[in-house]
């Protein structure tokens, strides 16, 4: 009979266990990786399409994405196109941390069924508990919001997490990004209040103040470098 209280037994036991568990986890992760990446990409496509009010199913999302998103490009803060970079693979959250001048700014051009063109801009920022992100679709002239989509990693259900709901996102439709020729991104403010300048605004979420503020900051921060690009659209 082995002495189960001995140090040697304990160490051998824990080593064997860690190796077995490690192997099992590595195997699970490796064998599911492709599916997970596919899901993540499909989810991103679904989110992009949702900003132009197109709801898709998991099965059809890839085809729909390629049908509606007719082109995509990466621009810099001067509005010039940067060649050789795939817009879909740009990590927006990473880019948002850089100086405006160094950022890679992806733009997706969407052609709707009626032939109208929309420009979709990805956003990334911080909520209360973790990252939040979204997509804003602008009309062909780059001034009016056509639709918006937001998502989050771990905001509180029923509070901050409400930014994903149509009740919140639909408020953005028709808001202006330019006021009298000045570039002023839409802001999110507490219900009943208004921002200090003339910019367009939407109501925040009661009980989700910090997340709402995060959305507002994200719009400000991520749309600012697109100023030159958007101005070039309206000319």
């Amino acid at each position: 009979m082995i002495n189960k209280q001995s140090n040697v037994y304990t160490i051998v036991y824990i080593t064997v266990m860690v190796v077995i568990v490690g192997a099992a986890l590595a195997f699970t992760a490796m064998s599911l990786k492709d599916r997970q990446l596919e899901n993540a990409d499909a989810d991103k496509m679904k989110q992009i399409l949702q900003s132009v009010h197109i709801t898709t199913e998991r099965a059809t999302v890839v085809d729909e994405f390629h049908r509606y998103i007719t082109s995509s490009m990466v621009v810099n803060d001067k509005g010039a196109t940067i060649d050789g970079v795939d817009a879909f693979s740009v990590n927006v959250a990473q880019e948002a941390k850089k100086n405006d001048a160094d950022r890679l700014l992806p733009v997706y051009v969407c052609t709707l069924d009626d032939g109208e063109q929309k420009h979709i801009i990805p956003l990334a920022g911080m909520g209360l508990w973790g990252p939040i992100w979204g997509y804003v679709a602008l009309d062909a002239d780059g001034t009016t919001v056509y639709g918006a989509f937001f998502d989050h990693q771990g905001e509180t259900p029923g509070l901050g997490a409400e930014i994903t709901k149509p009740q919140f996102t639909d408020q953005f439709d028709g808001k202006q990004m330019f006021k009298d020729g000045t570039f002023l991104p839409v802001s999110v403010v507490k219900k009943g209040q208004a921002p200090s300048d003339t910019r367009d605004y939407v109501d925040g979420i009661s009980g989700g103040t910090i997340t709402s503020k995060g959305v507002s900051d994200m719009l400000d921060d991520c749309l600012r470098p697109y100023k030159a690009y958007l101005e070039s659209l309206s000319k």
Binding site: A24, T28, D43
Partner: protein
């Protein structure tokens, strides 16, 4: 212990008389976090049932080999590994649900019910009763989560599983959703109400 209680009792006791939430008062934290809406509460319950059942069986199978001085570590490793596998499977096959539950799946690891059942039951019983015990306790936990989620979503948002149930005419007549129901304190108050009702029915549970 396994000889004294029948498998039937092992399975059904946690539903009411020995409910992990309202009698043993375990797993209250996740009861707070995931019950603002009914759907996450349901999926969370199912995930806990799965993890609890399998970790109970695994621990029960290896219970005679575990060195006693590191048994908690061994239990934690088994639970953590299972939770990660569940999370990976959800990411691969139920991406939307896994996004909704986000951090809460990971938090199953810290759910007191798991450690409680492993330590109190699986360490001293055969695999089959342990499996029943895990499923039973998981269901007991899910029942409470679903009840709390039901009331919080109905009164807090006027919906159930995302569908509008409170008719528009109610709102027109001046009815308003109770925003407090969505906030965490109401989860505790609802749980307290359930305990109150539960103890009024089961008089033998009342403390002197």
């Amino acid at each position: 212990m396994a000889e004294k209680t029948s498998n039937k009792e092992i399975f059904f006791n946690p539903f009411s008389k020995d409910n992990p939430v309202v009698v043993q008062v375990l797993g209250i934290c996740s009861c707070l976090a995931v019950t603002a809406k009914l759907e996450p509460a349901l999926v969370m319950g199912i995930s806990v049932i799965a993890v609890l059942a399998f970790s109970n069986v695994i621990i029960s199978l290896i219970r005679n080999t575990i060195p006693t001085n590191i048994r908690i570590i061994v239990q934690l490793v088994v639970v953590a590994a299972l939770v990660i596998i569940v999370n990976q499977l959800l990411l691969a096959f139920a991406y939307d649900v896994s996004k909704q539950l986000s951090v809460f799946i990971g938090l199953i690891i810290t759910n007191c019910i798991l450690m409680g059942r492993l330590e109190a039951f699986a360490m001293g019983n055969k695999p089959w009763p342990s499996f029943l015990d895990g499923v039973g306790n998981g269901i007991g936990y899910t029942i409470i989560l679903v009840i709390v989620g039901f009331f919080r979503e109905l009164l807090g948002s006027g919906t159930l599983l995302g569908y509008q149930v409170v008719p528009q005419s109610f709102y027109d007549a001046g009815y308003a959703n109770n925003g407090l129901m969505i906030l965490p304190p109401m989860a505790l108050i609802v749980v307290a109400c359930i305990i109150w009702v539960h103890r009024s029915i089961n008089k033998d549970l009342q403390e002197k």
